[in-house]
């Protein structure tokens, strides 16, 4: 079934994103593209609910509602993975910042100690 291929490909994509995504313009473009597609698809699905059934039939899923559920799962997973990566990056930034502060404080302490002695 076509839908199975699409779903498997989506999961592989999300897994790849989890392992390999680096912050950059390309990644940002992909994320924005995802959001635009989701908006457009959602819009159309609301206006023309009957066509979700047609589309579902085309890719080999029983009902339109099932198709929407599958898409929801893929998008949800992608979002979770994206947030996880973002959190890792944020932690790294926090660490670098905290370390810089710590080392600056150490330099300051040393300079103050020396000026007291001298």
């Amino acid at each position: 079934m076509l839908s199975q291929w699409i779903l498997v490909a989506s999961f592989i994509f999300v897994g790849f994103y989890l392992l390999k995504a680096r912050r950059g313009a390309n990644q940002q473009a992909i994320r924005r593209l995802f959001i635009v597609i989701a908006l457009v698809v959602g819009f159309l699905a609301v206006l023309f609910p009957r066509y979700t059934n047609v589309l579902a039939g085309l890719v080999g899923v029983g009902r339109g509602a099932d198709l929407l559920l599958y898409m929801f799962v893929v998008f949800g997973l992608f979002y979770a993975v994206y947030q996880y990566r973002r959190q890792l990056w944020q932690e790294k930034v926090n660490t670098d910042l905290a370390r810089a502060l710590t080392l600056t404080q150490a330099k300051l302490d040393q300079a103050l100690g020396e000026s007291k002695k001298g």
């Binding site: 926090n94 370390r99 710590t102 330099k107």
Partner: protein
Amino acid sequence: MSPVESSKSAARADLDSVWVVIPLFNEAEVIAKVVSEVRTAFRNVVCVDDGSTDSSAALAQQAGATVLQHPMNLGQGASLQTGFEYVVSQTEASHVVTFDADGQHRVKDAVEMAELALRKRISVIYGSRFLDKRTKPGLKKRVVLQVAALMTRVFTGLRLTDAHNGLRVLSREALGKVRLEQNGMSHASEIVHQLAKSRLSWKEYPVEVLYTDYSKKKGQSLLNSINILIDLIVR
């Protein structure tokens, strides 16, 4: 001065070029004793206080250590990296010894390892508790550590017998190759990974780990090795 004494004081002078880095987080019960003991052999001790909520930092300072303070708790890996960057940027140290704050390492082992690194010009020396029979970890701990060592072997190709021993000696050159990004406990595998890539000379050295009731409280669980595995894959 007898030849023996003069060689002893020469060794002592060499050890003055070594800095001991101790990551410190809420160890007020033992840190003063640990720092004092280390200071009997090494003049230079830096404790990286990782946002302790007890009096650890003040006690370490009173015992004669230089204390760096993280503004918040970041993890042991982050503390080590901060210590390394301090040593490289603000001292002339030739070597660094990493030493745990909970008192499970013996200063004698650290001295022997540092002297070996200085004498034989070995860039990295890893302490291992499994090279002889002195250390008696329980069965559970043994399994956890063997799994960790096996994982390290698979990931780095380095045939270490004990991958998660906090006692190590690194030369200044080796420090230049290390950039720990794993803030938590996964740094122990990460440091081996980065040093293995550098292809610097290395050796394992038998050490004894003292399992006091105090240090036992702070051991790692088997499930945590899954965390370490995932940390190493997803970066």
